[in-house]
């Protein structure tokens, strides 16, 4: 059992590190993790699920705004991008945030093609992140079920 737990923990640690290294997560995610404590044990999961809900909503809004047959309201798109940027930066979703910065510029330039492409990328990116974090949570669950505790991963 212990060996199994240790192995899981190792796996977990490596996985987390890879997420940071690949730019999926940044320091803000670390901060988020630090806010989780005994008082709020599911804090990270809670916040992330709120974030992904927001992603769905905002991407939907942007898709609708860009799908207008008439004139595209880039301001509207820009407002949604802005919001997504805020929330992604708050949770530490580094890649999503990076895309939002580009997206904003495209909106300001009223680059329709660019916006559409960027939106597609945002869509892929947040879904990828969601899957990866889901894997992370699963690993945590496995560790706990195996009787171990989820290790604190030191990014530095």
């Amino acid at each position: 059992m212990d060996a199994h737990v240790a192995q899981l923990q190792m796996q977990y640690r490596n996985y987390i590190l890879s997420l940071y290294q690949q730019g999926f997560l940044d320091d803000q995610f670390t901060e988020l993790k630090s806010l989780q404590d005994d008082g709020s044990p599911d804090f990270v999961a809670e916040v992330l699920s709120l974030f992904f809900d927001d992603c769905v909503k905002l991407v939907g809004n942007m898709a609708r705004a860009l799908d207008q047959t008439g004139t595209v309201d880039f301001c509207q798109v820009g407002a949604n991008v802005h919001q997504l940027k805020g929330s992604s930066s708050s949770v530490g979703a580094k890649r999503v945030k990076g895309l939002c910065i580009n997206f904003k510029e495209l909106c300001e330039a009223k680059n329709y093609e660019g916006c559409v492409r960027c939106l597609q990328q945002v869509d892929i990116e947040y879904k990828t992140l969601k899957a990866k974090l889901q894997d992370m949570f699963n690993l945590e669950k496995q560790i706990v079920q195996a009787g171990g505790i989820v290790p604190q991963v030191d990014i530095n």
Binding site: Q28, E31, L32, L35, S40, F43, E46, V47, L50, F51, D53, D54, A79, H82, Q83, K85, G86, S87, S89, S90, V91, G92
Partner: protein, 577 residues
């Protein structure tokens, strides 16, 4: 009373428990913000709608200390919310945004935001946001709240406005310095104490209404009131208290103004329950010489102090610091009526808690005229604040003399002690000018300090602080010190309470000493002038009696614990800080 207690408690622990309202339409950010704020040990309320936030704020202005709001919100622009909150509730508002564009930051500034944070917010940034509450309280004229109840903040009269910014750096010292300077000129002369009678207050309110509350300046008010022998300082200090009072009563100043006259007066009297606290004055002359057990924050003897302190904390201090405008007491109750407070007694009733509430002390003053203990309260509050927490360099020598309390412990405490010393010296030197050397007085002073604070406080309460000027024309510092004290007291809400306590103890010593030994009348006037809060007022004639009686009592008592004077305060102050 209960409410007061809660406020006091909240203040004591400030910034822990500071009540924050967080507004952000982004639920992810809101949730994170909430968690971060909890981590900072603030009390958090969240809403994702600006409209709802306004409703919450309008429902009870005193429910929150600080608002943090996102800039981009669908139902209302964050800047609009910022404006409304600033106007209606005068609460500090911090803007939050993912926009790092300087023009947004500038917009925040021009709309009155206290700060502008960028997302993602880090906890380090949130740990210091309480400073905005304190700053607001200190500098706000119309608005309120500092910490906790915001009432504490000293209402800034025009005098203080300019100082608000400086406060940040060295609030205590700077304020004191300024005040000292202000007081220098006017204080050197004996000024009659002003008693704010109902009629006088009515004139005051009428003048303020005529000018417009926002624009009311002491000079103009004074001109409109057209009361002989009323000085601008008197008006300024009264205005300060009035503003504090309004804040305290409700957010809607306009509404209050309409009804404020009597209410204000009544409030001050009844607020603190000073009246009810018996202060162990010991002298028959004092009313309700019972121990001021009621005083929550202060030891019984410090009942008076409590009162004194509170004014300082809230605004009383400020008042004091300003030039003897408070003119609270008229030595010659001619135009303005007579002093009530000075006489003392009501000190017992000092209810530190009340003062803290920031009720306008002057009001109590009027009541005092009726020789109620209540009046003492007013006086007390005044007296307390008048002690400048920071000692002017000049007086240092005085202060340090032989008084154990002079030990430079907590900031306020230190000053208080110094003041005490100073007072003692002054007092002991007898009506003659303050004896800087105060050698002879030292022993006397020390003794006096030790004497029950209550004895001292009574006569001093309001006016005592200003005693310096009166006592020692040559020693304007003493006078200022008092004011400093007050100002210091007001400095921080959290600290406020503590400092008040400290002050109380401190004040007792000096005030009483000063009053007792030296020419009481002078002492009072001086103090009053300084005090601004000059509620002390009381009967001039009786003042002498009181002083004398207190002196005797003090000497006999001589057991005023040093802790009362300020040691205790120091420690509390320390913790507060």
């Amino acid at each position: 009373m209960t409410v007061e207690r809660q406020d006091c408690v909240a203040l004591d622990q400030f910034p822990v428990g500071m009540r924050v309202l967080a507004v952000d339409d982004d639920q992810t950010c809101l949730r994170i913000l909430e968690s971060l704020l909890h981590r900072c040990q603030y009390h958090v309320t969240t809403t994702n709608q600006a409209q709802k936030a306004l409703e919450l704020l309008r429902e009870n202005k005193n429910k929150f200390d600080l608002v943090i709001s996102d800039v981009d919100m669908p139902d209302m622009d964050g800047f609009k919310l910022l404006e409304l909150v600033g106007l209606e509730m005068d609460l500090p508002v911090i803007m939050l945004s993912a926009h790092s564009d300087p023009k947004y930051v500038m917009k925040g500034v021009t709309h009155g935001a206290c700060d502008y944070l960028l997302k993602p917010v880090r906890i380090e940034e949130l740990k210091n946001i309480w400073q905005h509450v304190v700053r607001k309280n200190r500098g706000s004229n119309n608005g309120d709240k500092k910490d906790g109840s915001g009432n504490e903040g000293v209402a800034n009269s025009d005098q203080n406005n300019g100082r608000a910014n400086r406060k940040r750096k060295d609030q205590y010292n700077e304020d004191e310095d300024e005040e000292r300077d202000d007081n220098d000129d006017p204080s050197s002369q004996k000024k009659p104490r002003v008693v704010w009678t109902v009629e006088l207050h009515k004139k005051f309110v009428a003048a303020v209404n005529q000018l417009g509350f926002e624009k009311a300046m002491p000079k103009k008010i004074l001109d409109l009131m057209n009361v002989e022998k009323l000085t601008r300082e008197n008006v300024a200090s009264h205005l300060q208290k009035f503003r504090l009072y309004l804040k305290r009563i409700s957010g809607n100043q306009q509404a209050i103004m309409a009804n404020s006259d009597l209410h204000f007066l009544q409030m001050s009297n009844g607020l603190d329950g000073f009246h009810h606290r018996p202060i162990p004055v010991g002298s028959g002359q004092f009313h309700g010489g019972a121990a001021a057990a009621g005083m929550r924050p202060f030891p019984p003897n410090n009942g008076i102090l409590g009162r004194l302190n509170t004014p300082s904390g809230i605004g009383g201090v400020r008042n004091l610091s300003s030039p003897p405008s408070s003119g609270m007491f008229l030595q010659n109750p001619t135009d303005l009526g007579k002093f009530h407070h000075v006489s003392s007694l009501p000190l017992n009733h000092i209810d530190g808690g009340n003062i803290l509430q920031g009720l306008p002390i002057p009001l109590e003053f009027d009541q005092l005229q009726t020789n109620n203990n209540k009046s003492i309260i007013a006086g007390n509050s005044m007296a307390f604040p008048s002690f400048p927490t920071s000692l002017p360099n000049n007086n240092n020598h005085l202060v340090l003399e032989g008084h154990p309390q002079a030990s430079p412990s907590a900031f306020p405490g230190h000053q208080i002690n110094k003041r005490l010393e100073h007072w003692s010296n002054a007092v002991s030197s007898s009506s003659s000018t303050l004896p800087p050397p105060g050698q002879n007085s030292n022993s006397l002073i020390s003794h006096q300090f030790d004497a029950s604070s209550s004895n001292y406080s009574i006569p001093f309460c309001d006016s005592t602080i200003p005693l310096n000027p009166a006592l020692d024309h040559t020693n304007p510092r003493a006078f200022y010190r008092a004011t400093d004290l007050d100002s210091n007291a007001n400095v921080q809400p959290g600290v406020y309470y503590d400092s008040l306590q400290m002050r109380q103890s401190g004040n007792y010593g000096p005030t009483t000493d000063a009053m007792l030994s030296s020419n009481p009348k002078e002492g009072f006037t001086v103090g009053q002038q300084k005090l601004q809060s000059g509620f002390m007022g009381g009967e001039a004639g009786s003042l002498d009696d009181i002083v004398n009686s207190t002196m005797k009592q003090e000497q006999s008592q001589g057991d005023l614990s040093e802790g009362d004077l300020g040691y205790g305060g120091f420690s509390s102050l320390r913790t507060c800080i």
